[in-house]
């Protein structure tokens, strides 16, 4: 599997990463090398094999729906890049 420049642009956008014009070729080549290595998987017959979701085949345990954490907004917001009145600030989203 070999990726083209526009594939990289699409993937980068989905991952919300910026890849500059002059990096596109080298990133495409690097990703293609990995995908080529991964390609070995396609030769394996996996007909009827159950996908392994958990090494111990455990199911998700449930706990009672009770509040177990206190509100620590001030502590958590003290490490935020930008806050105001208890809110996280981001650039304007709605015009």
């Amino acid at each position: 599997m070999s990726l083209a420049r526009d594939d990289v642009e699409k993937i980068a956008h989905l991952a919300r990463l910026a890849v500059s014009e002059d990096e596109l070729d080298s990133v495409a080549a690097g990703l293609s090398d990995i995908l080529q290595m991964v390609e070995q998987m396609s030769a394996v017959d996996t007909e009827g094999v159950t996908p392994m979701a958990h090494p111990l085949h455990m199911v998700q345990p449930l706990r009672p729906d009770r509040v177990s954490e206190e509100n620590q907004r001030e502590l958590f917001q003290s490490i935020a890049p930008q806050t105001e009145d208890g809110l996280y600030l981001v650039p304007k989203v709605i015009e």
Binding site: L17, S68, I79, A80, V90
Partner: protein, 484 residues
Amino acid sequence: MHNKSISELAAGLRAGEFSSVELVQHYLERISSLDPQLNSYISVCNETALEQAAHADQQIAAGDANPLTGLPIAQKDIFCTKGVKTSCGSHMLDKFISPYDATVVARMKQAGAITLGKANMDEFAMGSSNETSWYGPVKNPWDLEKVPGGSSGGSAAAVAARLCVAATGTDTGGSIRQPAAFCGITGMKPTYGRVSRYGMIAFASSLDQGGPMTRSAEDAAILLQAMAGVDPHDSTSVDEPVPNYSATLNDDLSGLKIGLPKEYFDSGLDDQVAKSIEEAIEEYKKLGAEVVDVSLPNTGLAVPTYYVVAPAECSSNLARFDGVRYGHRCEDPQDLEDLYKRSRSEGFGAEVKRRIMIGTYALSAGYYDAYYLKAQQIRHLISDDFKQAFEQVDVIMGPTTPTTAFGIGEKADDPVTMYLSDIYTIAVNLAGLPGMSIPVRPVDGRPVGLQIIGNYFAEARLLNVAHRLQQTTDWHQSAPGGFE
């Protein structure tokens, strides 16, 4: 003082031969004089470590000491540590002061351990050489031109160089065992779910597992005792009783069945490394063990399978770094998309971005079946290989790595070659099994690791098997020149 075992140090503290403050001071002095050559620490907790030591001395005086009371331990910088920078080796978290303790950190504090500092690591644990750290590469104390391995390279180098009593690490595809092998120390990746992942910054959630990195199996047993156990904060931690790991260290090995997978001794293995492994196996025969040939036929598929599963999970886990709530934020974002894209591109290094993109691709519409689903099916086949082998044997042994430590820069530009250096360790994570690496005879002055793989929750057995070899050989005792 820095060559003593955990139990010797604990006894020395209780007997009043030295205080915890003196012990911590001693390590802080070693770090300040020796670590500039290695770069094994990202943060050193000078003040808080001494405060904790003074408190530990009071507890010891009051006869109220726990197994790790007063002992300075390095935490891999992936474990959130309250009030301390927890960078995960990334520019993204360079200013992140954790508001809480990871369960591993909390439990070790409860057992009395002192957080000496935060160990350097590959960025977000993605790497096999410690070269992807935003804080610069770590050097191997046995040869400063070589890598210490990764991703827990700082932990391994610090333990080998006697810059801490012991350290924690995490292992997603070999990140405890491979650096332990390269630095000549003892490292264990426990069974998936044995140690809580709460507060351990996630890379690939179905593979990640924390574990001890120490100078001996005896020390590893004490450290694992403090780390292991179910945690209500981690729904993937397993509610299995935690045995007393120190109690069975000396159990007899007569009749132990050791499986040697032929795939781990193929043409890719360095001849000299193979000789060291064979010599260790001979020692086990002298201890009464029997050797059985086994086969893990899907070994060759482990690396390709891992490089779908791990990147897919990482792309999802690392989506949380958006520049909004914590972590790096770019200057003057034009709009929300610009904020996301520039914050993430500036915050993450090349290897992390590469893996996020591979994972994003593998999970994108139309590709899920061919990649992630296929990989999860092959994962089942790999796991079945081990299941069959463990019907015949008690433990599986082989090399931890195909070669000794490689040179800094040697594989940095070729990700696929770097990935293939983890060929013997990755399958263990895919299957969720426990695995250890212990030092055997070095090759040309460079450490070699023997890997011991056990069945689910066989940590006590692995520690026992490792300890018995360390009782009859002294490979684990040698210290790198300049750090004795």
